[in-house]
């Protein structure tokens, strides 16, 4: 299940954000009549088609797998999480239908209809992510067993914003990195400069807004799920003026940190907005209810670290752009983008691990432990390895095809560019 989900969220996140970029490119093309934006939009549409196909099948697998792996969870809570899943099903349906029209219908439907289909894909993709995150919010802190109450569990506004932002952020940064990588090898590619110009604003805005959303989530956790907050920070002892530890290794027996940078009162401030406030520690909870603290904290540190790096980079990019009145270019910038680009997906995966590990040992916090939910099917390991292998192969194939796609586009662009070179120069 974990492996399937880990893959699925990458496909799903890109499936939410790529259509938005694709439509943006399309809109730029309609406005500027620049054929390169059209080419870009077509490229993005091809990428979307691969990711959506894989997302669609891995989503099917997940809907069954919930039952295959956790039949007792579904038997007891199927009712509570059914509504968001049913609505997600419709959103997904709409996405599939309009993606079909968008991908295969260029020239068969009117231009306005075509663009509207693209927008419908982007909107319903975001709606799917919205509904699925409601389920996660229920598992993290059930708002009640009544279907409506379960659908709007307390943490939903925080989680939904965080997840949606992360999808756009991860995808935009990945696109920034890919464009920069090609520009490094051939700085004259105008197509990829435009791709960079398309993705960079989205990357910067999301990178700056996301920390704010994270901060609101942390404050919500402090009040609603103090154990999870304590585990995120490996905060052992309840007390005031709690320090924030960055990096290092916590010792769970003593509550000491080895090699960490400590900011006095930092945790108190982040949790309550007050350097002297009391922050509940792990010692306030029975050990049997603790999540795997070291894993949760490590994942959290990775997420926050990657997020901070992107936010910082966004500030620098914006400062440079404002000062020079144009987007950054040149080797050093491109190298930096190539290094920074993968951080979006790194922090997305790390954030997902934080949620999943942070909820353990519960599958529905306070109501059902994961161990109680698991199937009695005796050969779970076989199914696990089977799905792992399938997903690994799928992952390899997707990366290979996307890379090939980008390379092919690069070559065809080069060819067309040489043919019309004089026209462009004029």
């Amino acid at each position: 299940m974990g492996i399937s989900l880990a893959f699925h969220i990458v496909f799903a996140a890109a499936g939410v954000a790529l259509p938005a970029l694709m439509v943006l490119a399309d809109i730029y093309h309609r406005r500027t009549r620049d054929p390169e934006f059209l080419l870009l939009s077509k490229q993005l549409a091809k990428g979307t088609s691969i990711l959506f196909a894989v997302g669609a099948v891995s989503g099917t697998v997940l809907s069954f797998e919930l039952g295959l792996l956790w039949p007792h969870f579904m038997g007891r809570f199927g009712e509570s999480i059914g509504l968001p899943f049913a609505l997600e099903g419709f959103a997904f349906f709409t996405e599939a239908i309009f993606l079909g029209i968008y991908l295969y219908g260029r020239g068969k439907v009117s231009a306005g209809m075509h663009l509207t289909s693209g927008i419908a894909v982007a909107v319903s993709g975001a709606a799917s992510a919205f509904f699925v995150t409601l389920v996660s919010a229920f598992m993290n802190g059930p708002g009640g067993s009544d279907p409506i109450a379960a659908m709007v569990s307390p943490s939903w506004p925080y989680q939904v914003v965080h997840v949606l932002l992360s999808s756009y952020q991860a995808t935009a940064w990945a696109m920034v990195a890919i464009s920069a990588f090609i520009l490094l090898r051939n700085p004259k590619r105008t197509l990829h400069r435009k791709a960079l110009a398309l993705a960079l604003p989205m990357a910067c805005i999301t990178a700056l807004v996301q920390p704010l959303s994270g901060d609101r989530s942390a404050k919500h956790l402090t009040a609603a799920q103090p154990l999870k907050l304590a585990a995120l920070e490996a905060h052992m002892h309840t007390g005031g003026r709690a320090p924030l530890h960055i990096g290092g290794v916590p010792d769970l027996e003593t509550g000491e940190f080895h090699g960490a940078l400590a900011i006095p009162g930092g945790l108190s401030f982040l949790a309550h907005g007050d350097f002297d406030a009391t922050v509940t520690g792990l010692d306030a909870f029975p050990r049997a209810d603790w999540p795997p603290v070291i894993k949760v904290r490590t994942a959290f540190q990775v997420m926050v670290g990657a997020g901070s790096a992107m936010a910082l980079a966004a500030l620098v990019v914006i400062a440079a752009t404002v000062r020079r009145r144009r987007l950054p270019e040149g080797r050093r910038w491109m190298l930096a983008f190539v290094v920074l680009g993968p951080l979006g997906f790194v922090s997305l995966e790390a954030g997902w691990l934080v949620t999943e590990w942070g909820r353990q040992p519960w599958i529905v916090r306070g109501l059902m432990r994961t161990a109680e939910a698991v199937t009695e099917f005796p050969y779970k390991a076989a199914a696990f390895w089977l799905f792992t292998i399938v997903y690994l192969l799928l992952g390899v194939a997707v990366v290979y095809l996307l890379a090939k796609q980008i390379a092919a586009a690069d070559r065809s662009h080069e060819a067309s560019h040489e043919a019309t070179g004089s026209a462009h120069a004029a």
Binding site: K46, V54, M74, G75, F85, I97, G105, T375, L386
Partner: protein, 334 residues
């Protein structure tokens, strides 16, 4: 009418649509695997063109069925997931490989066929067999559930002659659907003849596997056999289904392809209706009933509201999709 019947009805309709559309996509894969003769390449191309824009949307019907099952009838979903863990897992692998191989192949026409073509067509062939076996096991009466726990193990219920016969029947039906639809969707006369011959062969296979399943049902699925033979609706229903099947064959034989398409859809819908009626009131024969496993009435009402809200978005969108891509060609064009 009790709420759970409305929900079950919605599931039945979604399942029927899944079979009519998604089943035909699987069938397309079967004919891709069996593409032969001088026009093998053209056959594959026609199949890919027919499936391309619609297969993902067609596939979502299944997701809808699963979601309705687990939110409307949670204990039934739990029992089915445990008892049929193995065939469901294999079916899912088939779905994953079919879908991704198709998308990968479409992206890369030059080398894609060599790399992903066989994977696509093999997976398309195996998946409907497994789906049929799952249905066969559900109606066989060999899955026993006591106190929410499955007591009959993980293999015996579906690895038996009757479910296997249903699996082959389902495969033949998918192949028939695909070949019949393709006769309407191709513009090329010679290709159309190819698919016509294939559709006729598949129609014969449907008849033979149906007969085999009916004979095996005596021992393999006694409840359903009784229902199919001795209810007041049984014989009129068989006549109707048989009539549709004969219409399909005659229409194909006399090259009335649009009539064949309507008739084959009717035949499939009737077969699914027969299955649903024969199985009523059980979700898993003989221990899990619709009524006994239904979620709370409030949840059922909410689900129906969600369905009622979703359908007005869904139906016009689907209509648009099929109008854009599935306009049938006039038979005079060559």
């Amino acid at each position: 009418m009790p709420l759970e019947l409305l929900l079950a009805g919605a599931m039945g309709v979604a399942l029927c649509l899944y079979f009519l559309f998604g089943g035909a996509d699987f069938g397309g894969g079967v004919w891709d695997l069996l593409a032969s003769g001088p026009r093998a390449v053209d056959q594959r191309r026609a199949i890919a063109a027919a499936i391309g824009p619609v297969w993902e949307a067609n596939h979502v019907w299944l997701i809808l069925v699963v979601v309705l099952l687990f939110s409307g009838f949670p204990p039934a979903f739990a029992a089915i997931s445990v008892a049929l863990h193995v065939p469901l897992t294999l079916f899912l692998i088939g779905v994953v490989l079919r879908g991704s191989a198709f998308a990968f192949r479409a992206l890369d026409p030059s080398t894609g066929q060599k790399r992903f073509g066989l994977l696509f067509s093999m997976a398309s062939t195996i998946a409907p067999v497994l789906l049929g076996m799952i249905v066969g096991a559900l109606v066989s009466g060999n899955i026993r559930v006591q106190g929410g726990l499955v007591t009959t193990g993980f293999f015996a219920a579906w690895l038996a002659p009757f479910p296997i016969a249903i699996g082959l029947f389902s495969l033949a039906l998918c192949a028939l659907l695909a070949a019949t639809y393709l006769t309407v969707e191709t513009t090329d006369e010679a290709l159309r003849e190819d698919f016509r011959v294939r559709a006729l062969a598949a129609a014969v296979a449907v008849g033979l596997t149906a007969l085999a399943a009916f004979l095996l049902a005596g021992g393999g699925a006694p409840w359903v056999r009784r229902a199919l033979a001795a209810r007041p609706w049984s014989w009129p229903f068989h006549l109707l289904t048989g009539g549709a099947a004969v219409t399909v064959m005659v229409a194909l034989f006399t090259r009335r392809f649009r009539l064949a398409r309507v008739a084959v859809a009717a035949q499939t819908a009737l077969i699914l209706l027969g299955w649903v009626l024969a199985q009523y009131p059980y979700l898993v024969v003989p221990d899990v009933t619709l009524h006994g496993s239904a979620a709370s009435p409030r949840m059922q009402r909410l689900l129906l509201v969600a369905l009622a809200a979703g359908v007005p978005v869904l139906v016009p969108s689907l209509w648009l999709l099929f109008r854009v891509f599935k306009r049938s060609y006039p038979s005079s064009s060559s």
